[in-house]
Symmetry: C2
Subunit: 332 residues, 2 copies
């Protein structure tokens, strides 16, 4: 697959430069070290910060703004940001009430955010860190000890961001994030490999009739390679894996998400959503809110993931609260 790239080594910087120009009303991009902050700082509230390797856009920079993230720290493609930019962003967004780090569970991310948190603490900045590990596919992977953090991250960033915006303190927010991590599960399927800009090569090869079941968001291996099947069968496989693992349910309400991996058209994601909604209705699970689109991607990988997050009235209120970011916006 050909890519819209100039110099691959400048891809992330050039993309962020375009992002900054397009969304200058909402965000500001610091060029060196690289981080993204909202252009109107929160008023004395706890700051919520996330980050990780690039290649998963719109995660995380697309979620910086009012009612969601105060800062995002992007690394190079599929590469964790180092502690320096994380620390610099932490200093900029802290307003004395502390900073909550929301970190997807990848070994490099966890290490670098931990290091930044230690430096920040030494400067007197209160930091709490919550690790997100919603992927039920595999226990350990090439990139992770334990489960990976995938599409559920967006839901947690939205809900925790809304609670921060209403003025919750740092301990409450960390508690909320921990509770959300315990309530969210995801499972992904790849039907075509992504192409990494630096190499111009595909991350893996799939035969014409093969898919990767339980894929992560770096093209790393999943649970198994299986035969291509109809959309409904693939949806059932992914949904069953989530349902088996989610502490639950009948009579319960969820936020349901169908996430595209980058190159899959929205029309196909709605075919998946249709099946998921029918299945959940059949077992008495109410979809209180939904999100369908390419929100956490793996470059131009084709495929999808399904995510369920169990919610109560309080969480639905946080979901509906105003959000104004480049990617998610409502009520503001």
């Amino acid at each position: 697959m050909k890519k819209l790239v100039n110099d691959p080594r400048r891809f992330v910087a050039e993309s962020l430069a375009g992002f900054a120009r397009a969304h200058h009303d909402l965000v500001r991009v610091n060029a060196s070290p690289v981080y993204v902050v909202r252009s109107t700082p929160g008023n004395g509230k706890v700051a919520v910060l996330s980050g990780g390797g690039s290649g998963h856009e719109p995660l995380h920079a697309g979620y910086v703004g009012i009612g969601m993230l105060d800062a995002a720290v992007p690394g190079e493609i599929f590469t964790s940001p180092t502690p320096d930019p994380i620390l610099a962003a932490t200093r900029e967004v802290d307003q004395g009430a502390g900073v909550l780090y929301l970190v997807k569970n990848y070994t490099g991310d966890v290490l670098n955010f931990e290091t930044a948190a230690e430096f920040a603490a030494a400067e007197g900045i209160l930091v709490r860190t919550v690790i997100i590990d919603d992927d039920v596919a595999v226990l350990d992977s090439e990139f992770t000890a334990g489960r990976r953090g995938v599409a559920g991250t967006v839901l947690i960033e939205k809900l925790v961001g809304a609670a921060a915006e209403r003025g919750d303190d740092l301990d409450s927010l960390a508690g909320l994030a921990e509770r959300l991590v315990a309530s969210v599960r995801s499972m992904g399927v790849a039907i075509a490999s992504p192409t990494v800009p630096h190499s111009g090569r595909q991350s893996f090869e799939l035969a014409a009739d093969e898919i990767e079941f339980g894929i992560g968001i770096h093209g790393e291996r999943g649970r198994s390679r299986i035969g291509m099947a109809r959309a409904d069968e693939l949806t059932d496989l992914a949904l069953d894996a989530v349902l088996e693992d989610l502490p639950r349910l009948p009579g319960e309400r969820v936020i349901a998400m169908v996430n595209g991996m980058g190159a899959t058209p929205g029309a196909e994601l709605y075919v998946v959503y249709r099946r998921m909604a029918e299945r959940l209705q059949g077992i008495g699970v109410e979809i209180a809110r939904s999100l369908v689109g390419s929100y956490v991607t793996a470059l131009d990988m084709a495929g999808f993931s399904v995510t369920l997050l169990t919610v109560d009235d309080g969480l639905i209120e946080l979901w509906d609260a105003p959000v104004l970011t480049p990617t998610l916006r409502w009520g503001a």
Copy 2:
């Protein structure tokens, strides 16, 4: 490319069923004949209706809602809707103030909307039709006499929808739409072919180092097949074609759009936007507002288009007016 499909003949229906479930707060999908209407009808205002072949999602159904379209009529993949569903949707959305059809310039679309307009007129419904033909690539094509209607359609639907929402009458809205058509130009580039669900085959073949310059949104031929180049060079080629054709400019303001064709990641679109913004700044054209994302697609084609629409204060006010649809939402 594999697709998330069950029975290809039911792809559009199943996708719309998922779309209806996910967005039941904003839209309602009529199953037979197939059309999409907003769930809260406008209060005595002129109705704005669009439609065309499927495969260009989120166009048009994703733009049904408050402040944009009152109805969208999707055909099968790359196939115009017949007059029947257009007429049925027209009857449903008319509130006595008339209906404005916004029609992309493809021969089948123009014919079928014209026929529906005649039937509607015979029933006493006032209908005006405006044809959108923003693509500067080719004069005639496999699907069109004259220029094609492409990504600029979204900008026109937003602006005209806002004017309808504030209560403009049918003649004013038709006049506004005609003026917008005269002020908008687009140019597209394909770097990989789409795959049609029914055949599972690619629409065209491109060598590893080849792109199609001046592509439409059906994988039809463009101006020429040229060598793959860096993102900035491709951006310049597309932007120059638009600038050459746009009645204009220095000191003027535009809404600038970089549109993804379906499978191109957002991060790459921002690389294109960055170059376009730098170029426009260099010639003294101010980007008043922007839109970067996959808004008018050709299934899973890879590539992009650039669109410029010259605007004044009145049009910027219409752009900023509240919109609440599955795809575009702000201020509401």
